[in-house]
């Protein structure tokens, strides 16, 4: 089992569990959003869209999905980086960029969800 201080939970088992639960959240969110847009998308108005996204449960569900995405993307990209990037400096630089990007996604997502 690969362990590293850069693992999400510093444990392969922990990462394994987090990856699966975050996947379930993301799959459910995808179904809800794609399903709603597919049903309302062709003649969607701004007020309908604002009303849908403004509901508290959708804001909370969206935030949950963003947090799940943050964990899921970190574990996935950590796996990809440690599999293919043999040069330590390159790998650490890449993962640093990923960490900062994820942080930006989360803060940006929160500001969008509670900023309208």
């Amino acid at each position: 089992m690969v362990t590293s201080v850069l693992n999400y939970g510093r444990s392969g088992v922990h990462d394994w569990i987090v990856q699966r639960f975050s996947a379930l959240v993301l799959a459910a969110y995808t179904l809800v959003m794609v399903g709603w847009l597919a049903m309302n998308g062709s003649d969607l108005t701004f007020l309908q869209w604002q009303g849908f996204m403004g509901q508290t449960w959708i804001r909370i569900f969206s935030l949950l999905a963003i947090v799940a995405m943050a964990a899921h993307a970190w574990i996935g990209l950590w796996t990809v980086a440690t599999d293919y990037m043999k040069h330590r400096g390159l790998r650490v630089g890449f993962l640093g960029l990923i960490a900062i990007s994820i942080f930006v996604y989360v803060v940006w997502g929160v500001s969008i969800l509670w900023g309208f």
Partner: protein
């Protein structure tokens, strides 16, 4: 090759002609299960790169009536529509392959027969979803 223990086998094993060779990986074909696996990774990376596009689109679409119309108008540009389709295509595959992965966690689709079958089914389902995504956007 089995290390059979009979005389012929031992002679065979010792023959210099049959020594292991370094395989040229570029001449080997990936099995479909390997293709399914690498596409899961590639689609995950694409989704990570595509996330800011979707966030920007979400922010614009919620920025009043004007922002909402601007967001819809973006789809008139062929390149933008293609980028969003690319993200949805990656999502289609990653979603299907992820569910396949969960089935494999439960012990299904792990044999020499069912593994390639599951890979084929997930590829067919994903391509179907990609086509539907294309119909949706255009």
């Amino acid at each position: 090759m089995k290390f059979a223990g009979n005389k012929e086998g031992l002679v065979h094993m010792a023959s210099p002609i049959d020594r292991p060779v370094n395989l040229d990986l570029t001449t080997l074909n990936f099995p479909i299960t390997a293709i399914a696996s690498i596409l899961h990774r590639v689609s995950g990376v694409v989704l990570f790169l595509g996330s800011p596009v979707l966030l920007a689109l979400l922010a614009l679409s919620l920025d009043g009536e004007a922002g909402f119309s601007d967001a819809l108008a973006l789809f008139e540009h062929g390149l933008f529509a293609f980028v969003v389709w690319g993200i949805l295509a990656a999502l289609s595959y990653h979603f299907v392959a992820g569910i396949k992965h969960l089935f494999m966690d439960m012990g299904y689709g792990e044999t020499l027969e069912s593994g390639p079958l599951f890979a084929k089914i997930s590829l067919v389902l994903a391509v179907t979803l990609m086509i539907l995504a294309g119909v949706w956007i255009w």
